[in-house]
């Protein structure tokens, strides 16, 4: 099977180049990662990340024939030859298919991806009703592979400003968590013009998500929550005016 793989070693190379490989695969080589490991047996200078090999850790996300995805759950039989592999776009390349994800995780951390609850901890655990728990479905499954965020042109052009689909989906995941008490702060945190509103709903994120999640819908729901917040502020302001007039 033929491959064309992006190569760049900053210690040696002046600029990146594409290297062609033609490898003979075994019957057991079903996924793209299997083929990459076969190539790595032939050329151990090829760098890539991998860990779980079953689409859970998100380490081996890369650009496969022009579309971001996980090598470990991409079937070789679905790929056109030559298979063109590049690092995920929009992030600095460390070497070959390995990118520096610092910016991605900085953006993720900026939305406070953890529960904020100022009540004293209960003896056992903070319980949720099944209905409240169901609100987290389709959100908590994100594996932070970065495929969605690095498919997003708004992130390419403003990586330090636009949070990106993965971070925004996690922001929404905590906003709708019944155990969280920080929704107002979370919404304020996204109010700067470029943090949330750079999303123009082109839905690249939805198309590439290897877990079939829908960051675009989560982003739209954050905007809905913004409307709710404004409505509550208005009713609170009215109440305060009524109290003052009494």
């Amino acid at each position: 099977m033929k491959f064309s793989i992006y190569r760049f070693n900053p210690d040696v190379d002046q600029k990146p180049y594409m290297q062609d490989y033609d490898v003979v695969l075994e019957d057991s080589d079903q996924m793209l990662l299997d083929a990459l490991l076969r190539i790595k047996d032939l050329d151990d200078s090829l760098s890539l990340r991998k860990s779980c090999r079953e689409g859970v850790c998100g380490s081996d996300s890369m650009n496969i024939n022009g579309k971001n995805g996980l090598a470990c759950i991409t079937k070789l039989s679905d790929l056109e030859e030559p298979v063109v592999l590049r690092p995920m776009p929009g992030l600095p390349v460390i070497r070959d298919l390995v990118v520096d994800m610092t910016q991605f995780f900085e953006n993720y951390n900026s939305v406070k991806p953890y529960l904020v609850n100022n009540d004293p901890p209960p003896e056992t655990e903070r319980l949720q009703s099944p209905e409240d728990r169901a609100k987290l479905d389709g959100l908590y499954e994100c594996i932070l592979c970065g495929a969605c965020t690095t498919s997003c042109p708004s992130f390419w052009w403003n990586p330090d400003k636009f949070v990106g689909p993965a971070g925004l989906m996690q922001a929404y995941r905590f906003m709708v968590d019944s155990r969280d008490q920080d929704i107002d702060e979370r919404l304020e945190n996204l109010e700067a013009p470029d943090r949330l509103y750079r999303c123009h709903n082109i839905m690249n994120c939805v198309e590439v998500c290897p877990k079939k999640l829908n960051p675009s819908a989560a982003i739209a729901k954050i905007k809905d929550l913004k409307f709710e917040q404004a409505r509550e502020h208005k009713s609170q302001a009215k109440k305060q005016i009524a109290i003052k007039s009494v």
Partner: protein
Amino acid sequence: MLIELLTKRYPGMRAWLTQRLSGLVMAIYCVIALIRFLVLQPNYYEAWVDFFQPWWWRLASLLFWMSLLIHAWLGMRDVFKDYVPNPNIRGVLVKLLVVVLWLYLAWATWLLLG
């Protein structure tokens, strides 16, 4: 509530909502314009003059133009932010855009109400 979201308290939502509201105004205008066009069928110069004769239609057309220019301002500002990384060149382009949009507004006002 919509008014509150258009205040400085919500800078991101303000721009986003303004673009949607201006788009809505343009969409409504286009539907009415199409209906009027089909009903009146202005196929010569005097008919076009008559088409724009009612004061309410001229005001609606001006509202359409204002919405279009606001929509264009927000859209082009985003395009410049994305594709013109040099702040000096971007500043010049944004100023140029502001001048052009104001000229368009003045021209449209003169044509419709002058």
